[in-house]
Amino acid sequence: MSIDMAQFHQVFFEESFEGLAVMESGLLNLDMGDVDSEEINTIFRAAHSIKGGSGTFGFNAVADFTHLMETLLDEMRDGRRQVTQTAVDVLLGSVDCLTEMLTAIQAEDELDEGSVNNHKKALEVELNGESASESPVAVASVASEPVTIASTDDSERGWKIVFCPHTDLLKTGNDPVRMFRELAELGDLDVFVDMQGVPSLLDLDPEDCHLSWTLILKGEIERSDIDEIFDWVEDECDLAIQPLTEEVKVETVTEIADVVPVESVEAVTPETVKTETQSKETKPAAEKAKKPKAATSSSIRVDTSKIDTLINMVGELVITQSMLSLVGEHFSIDKVDQLKTGLIQLERHTRELQESVMNIRMMPISFVFSRFPRLAHDLSSKLNKKIELKLVGEHTEVDKTVVELISDPLVHLVRNSLDHGIEMPADRVAAGKPETGTVTLEAYHRGGNIVIEVKDDGKGLNKDSLRQKAIEKGLIEESTILTDKQTYELIFMAGFSTAEQLTDVSGRGVGMDVVRRNIQALGGSIEIISELGVGSTMAIHLPLTLAILDGQSIAVGDATYIVPLGSIVESVKITDDMVNRVAGKGETFRLRNEYLPIVRMHEIFHVESAKATNLMDGLLVVVEGQGVRCGLFVDDLLGQQQVVIKSLEANYRRVEGVSSATILGDGSVALILDIPGLVRLSNQ
């Protein structure tokens, strides 16, 4: 009954990465002067479980590495070591290194031995450099307390270990015999078992451990080696490790007078033998993980309450279904009302079910935000700037896909704000601003959208230099007149960089165009608000989910198209006097004080069956996308509905003017319009 450990790897990796994130944010929150021991505890626990997991799965390199970190943290936790900035930096570096190691293991790549060793050395230096001089290890007071002290303090004579496991030790998968065997490898081991605790056979639960041991280990052994062996069980036993001095020896002899000496480690009670076989079985699987690429499978953690709601919904749905089938079985015309109520219920339940299923995919934006404190921390020291990063609304929930895909563009924006936005401290003071710059990351819901803002109180965008730059690069003509908004939009053009000098942080001239494209690919938009000397704000608008869209269906001839509701400004019926022609061809109409181009849907999509060819017969749907407004000329508006977005590209290809497709109630396919694409199309 060998257990395939590989099936747990994915979970382990996920948990470990979560743990690493916890460690990182914990380390960044550490306040040098006044250290919160709970904070260190949190970091320590994360490190401990990563170590535990990696040991179990046989990722020994990770386990060894984490052990060093854990030792350092443990000393900080017990107050035996000052929390210094260097120590924190070393630990942060180690977190990075650990992330790399785990990523490499997950991808089944080779570990980067060099960097691992460097970090290991840094940790060791940090550990030994101070512990030797500062804290002689406290051993005396550890009678019943778990001990994890790594020290160079060793005894020449040996150690006496009193090991009293709790009764449930075996249930946690730990095996005393194996530990003793490991001890025996260190030196000369004498094992004395105390069987006083063993109940009569009738009361004996073979899965409980009733034994305790006194172990005498002779030889020149590092205490840390012993600690390491007991490390796994420290919470499940009472452990006392003492150097073997003359007095201890005497004591031991008297103490163990009524304790039966055990001949060899191999001969043990049945229950331990049983667990031994179990642990053996897990070994081969733990050797080296050979499994298909795990990177492709992704999982999601869902709040149990969400699942409960879902199950409730399904229950309701089943009830409605059985009610409806009852009505259907003996249907007569007088049951129409019953049928109607049933259908209404069905509709409601379906909608609610849909909502709760969507809800499962929602996760808080903090998954993305959490990486930024580190980024700000690293960058501000690199750039010699003083920067405070504020996170607002981290609990705003968005679809998992959005969370995954928005992360890179956001990093880019935040990096830009830190690098180009915020001025050097001296400049800030000169400008009458506080020395410390503030970058705010804020997320909130607005309508069916989530808005993510990256706001800085830096120098803001300089319209004149933007314009100058664009002219230099030949992106616009000298004579081009641009509104403020259009000027800011320039930075989204490919090959445009405002940085006066390139840094390795940002400003390579690629980027903002990629950012915008990524955001557009998510069905979102990005907008810039900036004021010279006061700061700038990048606001990203994203749909909550990529799977469903609120749409307005429009008719053009016998074709039905869906316009995203969010991009519709209004719909108007126009009269002849509103229409103007530019150069005899381009049609515009005047809506209040604005002239907007008219895009005739039936012309650009070549729909021959269009009913309305005269502008007065149809309707103009005023739409807006990426700052461009236009009027779509259509036959008629059909109705609003939520549509499920289906990819056109999965089996087909991208079509200009169309973002994706959906399936209507009658099973037919309707195309969802891409407004900016339509405008481009009509300009051709």
């Binding site: 494209r517 074709a559 650009i604 999509f605 070549h606 729909v607 289906k646 990819s647 056109l648 590209e649 999965a650 089996n651 087909y652 290809r653 991208r654 079509v655 200009e656 003017g657 169309v658 497709a661 399936i663 099973g667 037919s668 396919v669 309707a670 195309l671 199309l681």
Partner: protein, 172 residues
């Protein structure tokens, strides 16, 4: 169990030197596609038109929740267009194109047969120069003295525009 084993053996033997094809007609011509690429055979139903695409790309339909394009093979091969009737058949094909599984329906006049063709009976497509495009034809086989043109499904599914996907993403 034993029966399974023996039938598998037979299949293996057959597969060794012959390939199964589904044959269909376009006018007077007979074409074949390897049976493994055929997902299903449906009757023609109205499609949703896609704007600004070549004529032979008829549009898309909803195939159990997936959006699947429909191609008219007659028009694809520059044969004259025929009216769609209830008897017009759509063969749904699938193949792996650039690492992705693509599904597509092709409109044909009628499906005729499933046939075993010996591998050594397949000859390469004759070269007509530029007069006749043979880019989709993998080979030619003769079955009962009829000539069957065997189509390369993967090439067929690579619509003219499909290659451009990557290119398009880098401009704009």
């Amino acid at each position: 169990m034993e029966q399974n084993a023996s039938s598998e053996e037979i299949e293996a033997k057959v597969a060794e030197n012959s390939v199964q094809f589904l044959s269909f007609t376009l006018g007077d011509e007979e074409y074949g596609v390897t049976i493994l690429s055929v997902q299903e055979i449906r009757s023609w139903e109205p499609v949703s038109k896609i704007p600004n695409v070549p004529n032979y790309e008829k549009g898309v339909v909803n195939l159990r929740g997936a959006i699947v394009p429909i191609i008219d093979l007659r028009e694809r091969f520059n044969l004259e267009h025929s009216e769609y009737t209830n008897l017009t058949v759509v063969v749904v094909l699938q193949a792996v194109c650039r690492g992705r599984n693509r599904t597509m329906g092709v409109v044909v006049d009628s499906v005729s047969n499933v046939m075993n063709i010996q591998k050594n009976n397949i000859q390469s497509a004759p070269d007509f120069g530029t007069k006749v495009s043979t880019e989709f034809i993998n080979g030619i086989a003769s079955v009962d003295n009829r000539m069957v043109m065997l189509l390369d499904v993967e090439k067929l599914l690579k619509l003219d525009g499909l290659e451009e996907d990557e290119v398009e993403e880098s401009d704009d």
